[in-house]
Symmetry: C2
Subunit: 192 residues, 2 copies
């Protein structure tokens, strides 16, 4: 089987994340990112408006997929079944590249206060998107808020398990995210 | 009954939050904050190292109180009973000043991307602190993570209800936070 080959966009993200880890987010320039990725600066600007957008782009796609998956779940689905549909939809867009990115992104976030803030904002944004999509389905506010948080926890735990696992294995992100959601649902019975 | 009178520290926070709303976080200087609060710049620096610390200080206190309350809950307490003890401990430190600050802080956060990021980071930090305190009590990871998120949601919902309510009423934050926690616990039964 041929190994997966990243395109310019993917190479730019990987180069940026590695440079953020090595020298910090603030100190990294668009010129350096393009150079490391082996593309021109104008290629960078064809894909992203700036360094900040490079990080934000992934979240927008993810929010959209989670929202669509939740919105299109069958009418009789429970709140967690709708969240599961959102997780499946979002996971289906994540391939080998996203799996390889995981540990690099983790290192970059660990090394930078700025990236920790952006990562926190991302979690809060994803929870808000899922909560809003559930409220649109008629789910009551507190249940929707709780299900949204469960969805984010499941996605983060599933993504961590998947991206830290064997990259050549056939398991996909959806399996891990849904297993994490099941685990959290079971955990909710022990809250007291 | 005499109305509550704020000290220099409280006046500095209120002045800062109002200035952030009016002109943005980045554009606001320590000199302007001190002036608006009617104190000298050196008084500012007796209380806070810089503008950023002025915002971070509240979170540190809150994390510490939540952690202590959870840690000192009775040995037989369920995870949510321990979270309730944390919320009670943290609420007990919140007086009329915190109640008045609520709507102002909300306006400042709504007006600034920078403050939205800090607010998101605060939520994630508080959830992590509660989760760690629960794990220290022997609660399993997924249950602790879920209970930590419930604690943050309950605190935020309780604080919003309290600070948007009648400031002269005798209700305290703890009542609202515990009511929100009960509501979320009830909601968890409808997750499906």
């Amino acid at each position: 089987m041929a190994r997966w080959e990243p395109g310019a966009r993917e190479r730019l993200v990987v180069a940026a994340v590695d440079l953020f880890t090595e020298q910090g987010y603030d100190a990294t320039t668009v010129t350096q990112i393009a150079e490391r990725a082996g593309v021109t600066k104008s290629t960078f600007f064809r894909h992203f408006a700036d360094k900040r957008e490079l990080l934000a782009a992934g979240q927008e796609v993810l929010s959209k997929l989670l929202t669509e998956g939740i919105g299109e779940a069958p009418a009789g689905a429970t709140p967690l079944e709708a969240v599961a549909a959102g997780l499946e939809r979002a996971s289906s867009a994540m391939g080998p590249w996203n799996r390889e990115l995981g540990p690099r992104l983790k290192a970059a976030v660990a090394a930078s206060a700025e990236l920790q803030e952006r990562d926190a904002l991302k979690s809060v944004g994803l929870a808000a998107a899922m909560t809003a999509a559930l409220i649109d389905r008629g789910v009551a506010g507190p249940t929707a808020a709780l299900a949204g948080e469960l969805g984010v926890l499941a996605f983060k735990r599933g993504y961590a398990a998947w991206s830290e696992g064997d990259r050549d294995a056939a398991d996909d992100l959806a399996q891990h995210a849904l297993a994490a959601l099941d685990e959290l649902r079971a955990a909710s019975a022990s809250l007291g």
